[in-house]
Symmetry: C2
Subunit: 245 residues, 2 copies
């Protein structure tokens, strides 16, 4: 019933490698819900939809192919593959300067789960752009894509030489630092860039000088740090609360 | 050089199962940093420290045993075991009512990473108690313990019949619901209980009636939801900001 050749399976599986994704300019999305979100929000990027007979969808132009549960399991990165799998073309991001809104900048965030969760935070709060240093985890990593819960289709992500990029910005650059000023006490919060660093090491030495406003979440207890995605959520929430009222 | 018998290795590995942890009243902690935190904050609960020759520590009374890297790998749940491993006795929590502080209540949080991150949030903001429904992920699950980054030693966690417990409380019960009142707009936030639900299904039907104040984090963009630990971070931060000032 299926026209999924061994070679095609091999090619799809190769897309689970970053190097191949970069060469091909493609990435994968898995599961019923995510593929439906892809159809709704990134329909024109879809190259191929692979699905079991149970998956109901409509797409005017994308190629699709009915596969067995077994074939789906062969191409999937999930423990429990779920009905659908899609291959999408990455979007090129050329112009991402938006001086009137809050922009997130990530300096070396490594964990795919954290990255996906940060995309989801941006999506929730209507932040349209995330600018990442080149050593930040790739946003098309399967774990990032899945953890983003569809935010990957709605938030634009750019990978840049962060120092070079920050140098050119004229808006306030708020950096999350343990030694920063309390976000609660800070008199004024304006839209600009909110910069978050690596899970273990924080913001790197060469990026620190670009911070115009070091900020922190006050610590009352004894934890050494907060998870970077939780810190992102708290800081973004406080910016939104203050700049929208 | 080592006195770690096959049987002992087998017994330690059995502690990675919830059932055995419950029978024995023990749990495990891994890695140099976590074991040092255990010594500092839960020293009297430590039953046994297993460590390589590289691990430097002092503990006046706990049994310890020098092991090889290979033995450490055999008992570890980590991909890259790191120098030390400890077995601790669980603490019984008898009295956890603290009417003057914010208490977190979790109704069916399932993901160990989320649970660990919520412990870390509590630890950061000085919340001393988390009350969990019986179907919330076990806090001594190895992934919870590791994700807590030491918070497991400083925050007390109780598993209760949540409906029965909530029924007896006289403080405000704030429930995180998509349909709740904006936390930003809410006129008054008092200390009480902050209730968070399951990742997929939110707060369960039988718990909803106990909520005296349904609250929400305003959504500006299009994400369907926030990660539960991120929501916990944002809500706790807002409570702390408002009740401490």
């Amino acid at each position: 019933m299926s026209d999924l050749s061994k070679n095609k399976i091999k090619w799809i599986r190769s897309l689970h490698q970053k190097k191949i994704r970069e060469e091909e300019g493609l990435y994968c999305v898995e599961g019923e819900k995510m593929v439906l979100e892809a159809i709704a929000y990134a329909g024109d990027s879809i190259q191929l939809i692979l699905h079991t007979t149970e998956f109901k969808f409509s797409h005017p132009s994308a190629d699709s192919c009915c596969v067995s549960e077994k074939e789906l399991a062969q191409i999937s990165t999930l423990k429990t593959p779920n009905k659908a799998f899609a291959i999408l073309r990455k979007k090129e991001i050329s112009d991402f300067s938006e001086q009137n809104k809050l922009t997130l900048a990530l300096d070396g965030v490594q964990d795919p789960g954290n990255m996906g969760t940060i995309l989801r935070i941006a999506d929730w709060f209507g932040i349209s752009t995330i600018v990442c240093s080149k050593n930040t985890v790739e946003c098309h990593n399967p774990k990032v894509v899945q953890a983003s819960m569809g935010a990957i289709f709605r938030v634009q992500i750019a990978y840049v030489d962060l120092a070079q990029w920050l140098k050119k910005q004229s808006v306030p650059i708020y950096g999350a630092l343990l030694s920063g000023e309390s976000i609660y006490a800070k008199q004024e919060l304006k839209n600009g860039i909110l910069l978050l660093g690596n899970e273990g090491n924080g913001i790197s030495e060469d990026i620190l000088p670009f911070i115009t406003h070091p900020i922190a979440i006050p610590r009352i207890g004894q934890a050494e740090s907060l998870n970077v995605s939780v810190a992102a959520g708290i800081l973004v929430s406080e910016f939104i609360r203050r700049t929208n009222s």
